[in-house]
Symmetry: C2
Subunit: 362 residues, 2 copies
DNA sequence: AGGAGGTGTTTAAACGTTTACATCGCAGAT
DNA sequence: ATCTGCGATGTAAACGTTTAAACACCTCCT
């Protein structure tokens, strides 16, 4: 009691379960049991305890609770950035489902840096998170998979569960859940949409080799071209990241280099599309009158600019990740699993048939 | 040791500081000291311990650490929703600054429901958060202030700190920090901008009495009208929440009721503006050719639709909230304080002088 | 030679819960 | 009247850290 007396002389200390017990005239065990609810108790005692709790304004100490082995812990989500709408939606889904299951949600951001991602996963392991949800685009080479695989095992050992959300699996035998959506199919669909309108020279904005999301989308783009027997011109694939200003830059640089050598644009996501559209307008080009355009993600911005795009079930992705992780932990049936959610095209007003096109959908 | 043996038979248990100590041949105290870094130690011992940590892949248990009284804890942020861009930006700021200070960030959402907000604050108190940041729009009546004031006191007692971010103070004597931005001045500026262009009938979209943000903005709007000697017509103030679809609804209903009786629109935020713009377009009205429009918040959507708006330092708001809270806690100088950040108008292409207007800025 | 003053390390007492096990009444069966 | 069984409560041992206080050792001074 030495330390307590010393450290408490300055002011009041927060009420503990002991204070409640004393105030209610019962033992701490009884208070604990009544508060956790999962135990029979006499109504009279229950009333006394509840009154004491109210009168003392007691709230339990989550640290102590966690330490002593109470099950309910927290759900961790790790994203590149919170302001990118796609991540925001997934985070919203995670947070909603977590709240529903009575857990709270802790968030980490990486800025897209794998090193920070690793560090954040460690942090979440410290924090005893019940599951760790890793969201989105990342460079996914062998070294990364190997290392993240080890982290997954370490988490499993600590009773936690790694979930990959919107990115491919790490490899066989790695104890991680995967909740994906179909990037390639979406990109295929929306590229076909352009091709059916007669477009042949379609600029792809936002290629970035090695990054999972962008690789899958460029694959869908190429697949559609191939199936429509349109020769693949690598010069039409412009490299860039998935931000608005990159879309602006890519189109700007392209138009600075010479007149438009394309009739349509496939933007790797809607943000790029928005930026690209602005650059086009500054050069007097209108969407869809002069240039057709499609995007990906179906963010609110797409509605603003009347953009035909691919709908992604962002929020469902997040909710499913949490739900799956928690139910897997309950029955402890193997800790791997793979779920692929569907995507579908949303047609708005950003594509016009190419004048004099010969091939309006066979 | 009974429980341990029983509960551990199924598999390996996570490594504890004791394992590390044993493996390195020192005591747990030494390991703890070396890991926390804030203590002298012999390089040889340090090496042994670090090697043991690496070999065993040890990470400390945050619950135990928190219980035992280590200082570094977490920062809590409570917002209406994560997908609303304004909140997302503030959250990003909070998360950034928290990471910078070596703390992690736990997020709660309320969906705008005061009851859920209270519950979430309690949750954060349980979690021993170092500070609790409450963000944004809320109905701020006497009952609310009274109750939240008590929560603030409870937090203070537990060594935590309540921060109100982007909303007004609770009252004198309540131990809470306030970090605001100037809603009224911003609304005044942007309304004046419309008035200077000759507009007299300005539709205000998104009035909602009792809600802090909306009240301040409508006050700025009215103030500007008064100063320009334009009679105030309550029929021009349309009620609604601050979402995109509400902007759409409000304009839609207005135009359904009869021809436009306004020449300009002040949307309470950019999301409303985006929705309103869409409704206008569906009725063949163009911004700015037919109707002038201004918004508030300077979200990315505003750039897309070329909207003149008020810039709000969202991220700085979040960063400042964290910074202030943590430094206040250090020197423990009174736990109240008030900071007002500035806003400024961003002129884009959504306002045209009114034809035949007599008053093009004196 | 006998401290004094540093280092570096260990010992052990907290921190605030949960929960296995022990205990205590008390009703109903024998 | 005694035993059985059960429901309600109490006792005390964890949980994995931090940290004050004690301790051991070494060097330097007088």
């Amino acid at each position: 009691m030495v330390r307590r007396a010393a450290s408490r002389e300055d002011g009041q200390r927060p009420t503990t379960i002991r204070d409640v017990a004393a105030h209610a005239g019962v033992s701490v065990a009884t208070v604990s049991r009544i508060l956790s609810g999962t135990y029979p108790s006499a109504p009279a005692t229950r009333g006394k305890v509840m009154r004491a709790v109210r009168e003392l304004d007691y709230v339990a100490n989550a640290n102590a609770r966690g330490l002593a082995g109470a099950s309910s812990r927290s759900v961790a989500i790790i994203v590149n950035s919170v302001i990118s709408p796609h991540y925001a939606y997934v985070a919203q889904g995670v947070q909603t489902q977590a709240a529903l299951e009575g857990k709270l949600c802790i968030v980490g951001t990486t800025g897209g840096d794998p090193e920070r991602e690793f560090a954040t996963v460690q942090l979440m392991r410290q924090e005893q998170a019940e599951c760790v949800i890793l969201v989105g685009n990342v460079v996914n080479d062998a070294a990364y998979r190997e290392r993240m695989g080890e982290y997954a095992r370490a988490l499993a050992l600590a009773g936690s569960q790694l979930v990959l959300c919107g990115r491919p699996a790490l490899g066989p035998g790695v104890p991680a859940l995967v909740v994906e959506y179909d990037n390639t199919a979406g990109a295929y669909a929306v590229t076909s949409h352009l091709l059916s309108a007669g477009h042949r020279r379609i600029l792809f904005l936002g290629r970035r080799d090695g990054y999972t999301t962008q690789d899958s989308r460029v694959a869908g783009y190429r697949g559609a071209l191939a199936d429509h027997r349109v020769p693949h011109d690598p010069r039409l694939e412009v490299e860039g990241t998935m931000e608005r200003h990159e879309g602006y830059r890519m189109v700007r640089e392209r138009l600075d280099a010479g007149p438009a050598d394309f009739t349509a644009i496939f933007a790797c996501n809607d943000l790029i599309a928005a930026g690209a559209r602005q650059a086009l307008r500054e050069r007097g080009l209108r969407v869809p009158d002069d240039i057709s355009m499609v995007g990906f993600d179906d963010l609110p911005t797409a509605a603003d600019i009347e953009l035909t795009t691919v709908h992604v079930p962002h929020e469902e992705l997040g909710r499913t990740a949490v739900r799956l992780a928690l139910e897997r932990r309950q029955d402890a049936s193997g800790m791997t699993g793979h779920l692929m959610l569907g995507t579908h095209i949303i047609v708005r007003d950003s594509v016009r048939p190419l004048r004099g096109a010969g091939d309006p959908t066979p």
